[in-house]
């Protein structure tokens, strides 16, 4: 089954809206794309369209939070974090207000809209803000649980969502725990850490490696901030090599967050797979993933190479 995390977001919002009357959803003229339209239809009195005005979207969300609302501010990731950055900084994070920035169309898989709309630096931007927490869910099940968790915790949360359908990897019994990574596959030869839609590709690569006798550990890190230091340190100690895989710039994202932990506690080689400091272009999502190396193949070859180098 394949479902985009933005769809899962829209669906869980309606459930949460029924359960908690303090939930208010804001959008910036993209409610059909961000999937907040369902909530808007069901709870029109608690839906606010800011129009094409992302700064005010975030400012109003902050004001709503001061009246006891749990404000979900939704728009495309590139506008949410770029255009409205300083409002998120000063009006949401500085006073630590209860606003959830739910940003869809993150990464290059937004596709045909091209480089201007492909948010590949949002994690880096949001990571630098005190009080901001970051969740990048990997599939439908995890998205629903993560959005619920965000609603239940006080303070700002950035939830990074995608446009492209992604395979469901977790079962209904999966438990998302904020701040904790998941060990998806045991292995002692190398660790592959993925986030968002890349997690499923990490699993596929690990299966290919397995056929060659390489036992790769696979970890899903959906909470990027605060990051699960324990699971990273343990992986570094036990496997000596780490690959991080993200649909984001290799500067400032998951890979950098993992390196921060590794360099401080147990320096081992970390190879970052991500967008190599370049803007994207128009294309089909799968074509773009291939062009920029966000593929099962690249993860597989990178792992082979790292292990080969060590064995020499």
């Amino acid at each position: 089954m394949s479902i985009a995390t933005r769809e899962s977001y829209g669906n869980i919002l309606i459930e949460l809206g029924e359960e908690n009357k303090n939930i208010v959803v804001l959008d910036a003229d993209l409610s059909k794309s961000t999937k907040t339209a369902g909530f808007a239809k069901k709870f029109p009195e608690r839906f606010i369209n800011a129009g094409i005005a992302e700064q005010n979207l975030m400012g109003m969300a902050a004001g709503l939070a001061t009246t006891g609302k749990i404000a979900f501010a939704s728009t495309f990731a590139v506008f949410a974090t770029g255009r409205a950055f300083e409002v998120i900084r000063n009006s949401i994070c500085y006073p630590n207000l209860n606003v959830k920035v739910a940003a869809t169309h993150a990464g290059i898989t937004v596709g045909e809209d091209g480089g201007s709309h492909q948010s590949i630096e949002d994690i880096a931007i949001m990571r630098s803000l005190p009080n901001m927490r970051i969740i990048v869910p990997a599939d439908d099940i995890e998205t629903k649980q993560a959005v619920r968790a965000a609603a239940n915790m006080e303070g700002p949360v950035y939830i990074r969502l995608g446009r492209l359908g992604v395979p469901t990897i977790f079962g209904e019994n999966h438990i998302f725990t904020f701040g904790k990574g998941n060990l998806l596959k045991e292995g002692q030869d190398i660790t592959i850490i993925g986030t968002g839609l890349m997690t499923s590709k990490c699993l596929e690569a690990a299966e290919l490696l397995e056929k060659e006798g390489i036992r790769a550990r696979v970890i899903n890190l959906s909470t990027i901030k605060p990051i699960d230091e324990d699971i990273i340190i343990q992986a570094a100690k036990e496997t000596n090599r780490i690959i991080t895989v993200e649909e984001h710039s290799i500067i400032g994202g998951l890979g950098s967050a993992v390196c921060d932990v590794v360099s401080a506690y147990c320096p081992v080689q970390v190879v970052k797979i991500g967008i190599n400091d370049t803007f994207g272009e128009s294309g089909k999502p799968e074509e773009l993933l291939t062009k920029y190396g966000l593929t099962v193949d690249n993860i597989y070859h990178t792992a082979q190479k790292m292990i080969g180098n060590k064995n020499k």
Partner: protein, 271 residues
């Protein structure tokens, strides 16, 4: 109204004293707004420092956050914290930050300082009250130079779109900003026509005249289905002869000699 005048002068004395103590901060735009804040806190708003978290309170957001001294002085006079604390403005360890921090200062309803954002948050507060069908009102003070920020007009559009008749924006229209007059730096006039075209109920007053304020705030309460903006004509540095209408007093604090002179003037005008 005589009491208001005495309070406003007292507030100006606090402003001069705290800014002289801190050696950094913004006197001009604090003094210009002193009469307006006294009126709001002592006459207009439903607010009580003894019950500061009452959900039924009105809210005030200082969107022109650099005028923090006028807000701190007013809050102290209203009993939110000790007058004695004012001397610690902008000092290490004090809760009186250079710009208002809602997490630190009792009575501050929104952290502000980056211009335009307080106004946007005030629109959010108005929306929150509407969702709850509560009768609370939200007031926000903007500088006229602040109107050059794009977010102000995004928020102005939204407030009128959502018919926020529980929101009153007050423009401290002193005509000056850091680099010169508004007209020289980036013309914001004509204000009345701009706000009217954005769907607001516009009232123009003398921002140092309490009876003007009384009429304007009463008219704002009567206005249904649209937000009200009160364009208050003020003098930057109001109350102190050598500061009035001087661009140079935006962000420069008085020397000890200037403090003495200023306070002498303010005390004299009380008599």
């Amino acid at each position: 109204m005589e009491t208001m005048k005495i309070y406003a002068n007292q507030l100006r004395i606090h402003i001069i004293n705290m800014l002289t103590e801190s050696g950094s901060g913004h006197p001009g735009g604090s003094l210009s707004a002193a009469d307006l804040l006294i009126y709001l806190y002592f006459k207009e708003m439903n607010i009580d420092s003894e019950d500061k978290d009452n959900p039924n309170r009105d809210r005030f957001i200082l969107s022109k956050g650099h005028a923090a001294p006028v807000l701190y002085g007013t809050l102290a006079m209203k009993g939110f914290f000790s007058i004695n604390e004012l001397k610690n403005l902008r000092k290490m360890g004090s809760f009186l930050q250079g710009h208002p921090d809602m997490k630190k200062v009792p009575g501050v309803e929104m952290s502000t300082g980056s211009l335009g954002q307080g106004f946007s948050a005030a629109v959010g507060v108005g929306l929150g009250f509407k969702i709850d069908k509560s009768v609370n009102r939200v007031y926000t003070l903007l500088g006229d130079g602040e109107l050059q920020e794009g977010i102000v007009w995004e928020a102005a559009m939204a407030a009128s779109h959502y018919k926020l008749d529980n929101l009153v924006a007050i423009i401290d229209n002193n005509g000056l900003q850091i680099d010169g007059t508004n007209d020289e730096v980036m013309k914001v006039n004509p204000l009345k026509e701009k706000w009217e075209s954005f769907g607001w109920n516009v009232i123009e007053i003398n921002g140092h005249c309490f009876s003007d304020m009384e009429k304007a705030f009463a008219a704002a309460k009567q206005c249904k289905g649209q937000p009200t903006v009160i364009i208050a004509k003020t003098s930057k540095g109001k109350g102190i002869s050598f500061m009035e209408n001087q661009v140079g007093w935006h962000g420069v604090t008085p020397s000890q000699a200037e403090r003495a002179r200023a306070i002498e003037e303010l005390e004299k005008s009380n008599r």
